[in-house]
Symmetry: C2
Subunit: 421 residues, 2 copies
């Protein structure tokens, strides 16, 4: 390596990666170390403007060790998930030259250099919204950019997979399939893009972030317990999912919302059924989750065909997918009827694409209070103020991107430390 | 027929039948009309002093039609379930003679005579505590007594089955197995007693009647939906349950509480998993049910071996089975710590065997308030006052019995109508 002032330079790259929500669920590993799943899974990538991780990776000969900060707080990098990704990317590092800064790093030098990583989620980390998927995908993608890794997205997805299984699906935008693969070394357990985000761009996604008082089982330990104790898990993985994956690919290809919605709801419910079949049983959904499902099921039933799909990951939050803006606004009216904001502040109750509120005719809290009870509800119904923390309105989005505007980097290019720390 | 005053006499029989709680669950019919199940099930019969149905059946030539009253209110007898049982018992009716009253009924006359039936549950009908099992078993048993039916208990169980599937298991006390049978006509789908109530008489049963605001899916329509839509149900019925039934029979035979508890909990959870795997999904357990499970699971885990078993039927109520009085009192202390009575009235908060309260050192509401947080709870925990309506403490009990004391009959022997109506 060489630089104007030896040892003083800092070279950086910044990337942004989306989160993703599985519509055919990943639950269970056949190999814990390599993170190889027991079945294929399919996800939709969400718009990074609403839900994404931004990561800056910096390298400097002055760094004595690898360090990482998440949302401004230093965290340990010693965990196996980060170490696997770091090792795999370093292995593939190439020569890097920044002529402007007069920096040259030869590929054999990467093993001696340390990195500083700063990552930031534009949504609450603890809310159970696949923050680790976005985070690990961004970690791998951005490290790869810094180290001039030439591997394609499939290879990157396989590395991200070793950080956090579902992270491999955040390497692409649109509709993504994680092929479980057959090889023992995991080389064919990679993500592929089924269709990009433009393929079916009228889908609207509304997330209800549900208030929860209970500590949840982590998905890592939860799925390990399921593999070890649920008699239903292997049957699901070997018999039910393969057929659903084929049908889901077909539904996505033909933009068949009815089929897409039925498969999405059924597979979410079956994933939670397997959690319940685990010993001790795992409950991710709570009464609020159940009420949101009932609301959607009653509506779908009254119309005779699915108006909206729902899916729940390892937590109580509902991810609702509407086929178009019209259904999304009707859904929002129903949701806000049952779950009005706790503090009457409508504006902070909807994040992401806030324009859905005015599309739904909801400009003030008075509009919410004036909402009629959903027609399919037979009896005057109870309301559940405070049971939803807030909503996010989003859409399908693109895969990871390099952030070229250096002012958006999370690390100071002089100190090599996170900005504002 | 003949009597002192032709047409004026009323002949009656009164019986009492227990309810039962399945420890290997029945969920799914292979024949809707005959009520033939997709798998064997095993239950424990509860002490009729705490949970039972009492039924009086009266016959008189003066009755112009069959009529029935449940808990003092007339209900329709036109439903298929009652009609099947009435028809099957009438078919088997024999000559009856009451010398004291000078009444003689020849078996061929039963077809022309009508009956009045009055039934009463000594527990809330709507609480989801298998009231229909106790009720239909009592209906069949008492009709059989009145009509001098000679068939054995197995045959009676097969008739009760056609009224309400799980009613067939209430024909015996103790531990009962409902054999699914193989015949298309259902003739071998009968209940058998695995062991009587004296076989394992230190078991203590505590039921938490959980407050529920939601209308529940009836088990009849719920299991039909599961059979039609759950991909996991047939796998459970054909592959998982047969093995569990063998293990459960062995656990009961050898009074192996550890095995009994593990199987009971796992099978309850798997039944609810199949409900969740149904489309639309069925939720019988709510957040309170989940909290009771967590309480038990944490305790069991901290001791390394099951201290208590739990099982939930088609509703949120928890049925908890302790191996002995000591564990039952510890369980009660833990339950009352988290779920103190809403109105501070301890005495009405525990029904059935109230002596468990003093055994647990809980003589007043102050004793409840002084309970320490369960040791296995890591953090100071929230309490959930009002989430349990009340508790029932019970034990294993005997099968149906004739009530010979005529003063306990529910029908007036002169008017032929329910007493007090």
């Amino acid at each position: 390596m060489a630089a104007a002032e030896e040892g003083q330079w800092v070279l950086m790259a910044t990337g942004r990666s989306p989160t993703n929500i599985a519509v055919i669920k990943y639950w269970g590993k056949r190999d814990e170390a390599l993170i190889l799943p027991v079945n294929d899974s399919i996800s939709v990538t969400l718009d990074p403007d609403h839900l994404s991780a931004t990561t800056t990776v910096a390298v400097s000969p002055s760094f004595p060790s690898d360090r990482m900060w998440l949302n401004g707080k230093e965290i340990s990098l010693s965990g196996g998930r980060f170490q696997s990704c770091l090792r795999e990317i370093r292995k593939r590092a190439q020569d890097v030259e920044d002529e402007k800064k007069g920096i040259r790093i030869k590929k054999e030098d990467w093993g001696k250099l340390h990195v500083h990583i700063a990552s930031f989620n534009n949504f609450p980390t603890a809310a159970g919204l696949a923050s680790s998927a976005a985070g690990l995908a961004c970690f791998v993608f951005t490290l790869g950019k810094l180290m001039n890794v030439k591997e394609d997205h499939g290879e990157l997805s396989s590395i991200a997979r070793q950080g956090s299984g579902s992270a491999c699906r955040s390497i692409y935008g649109g509709f993504v399939k994680w092929c479980m693969g057959k090889n023992n070394d995991g080389s064919d357990s990679i993500a592929v893009q089924l269709a990009d985000e433009a393929h079916w761009n009228d889908l609207v996604i509304i997330i209800a972030v549900v208030s929860s008082k209970q500590k949840e089982t982590s998905s890592t330990s939860g799925m390990r317990d399921s593999v070890e104790t649920s008699p239903l898990l292997q049957y699901r993985a070997q018999t039910v999912v393969p057929e659903r994956v084929l049908k889901m690919e077909e539904a996505i290809k033909s933009r068949n919302f009815e089929s897409f919605a039925r498969l999405t709801c059924a597979d979410s419910n079956q994933f939670h059924a397997v959690c319940l079949d685990t010993s001790p049983p795992i409950f991710y959904m709570n009464d609020t989750s159940h009420r949101i499902i009932s609301l959607v099921e009653k509506w779908n039933q009254s119309e005779g065909t699915p108006q909206v799909a729902y899916t729940f990951d390892a937590g109580p939050n509902a991810v609702l997918i509407a086929p178009n803006r019209k259904n999304a606004t009707i859904l929002l009216q129903k949701l806000l009827y049952y779950f009005p904001p706790q503090d009457n502040d409508l504006s902070s109750y909807m994040v992401g694409d806030k324009s859905i509120l005015s599309d739904a005719g909801l400009k003030s809290i008075e509009d919410v209070e004036a909402l009629p009870a959903p027609a399919e509800t037979k009896m005057p119904s109870q309301k559940f103020k405070g049971d939803v923390s807030y909503f996010i309105c989003s859409r399908l989005g693109a895969g990871p991107k390099v952030v070229t505007d250096e002012s958006l980097a999370l690390i100071d290019s002089v100190t090599g430390l996170p900005k504002g720390v």
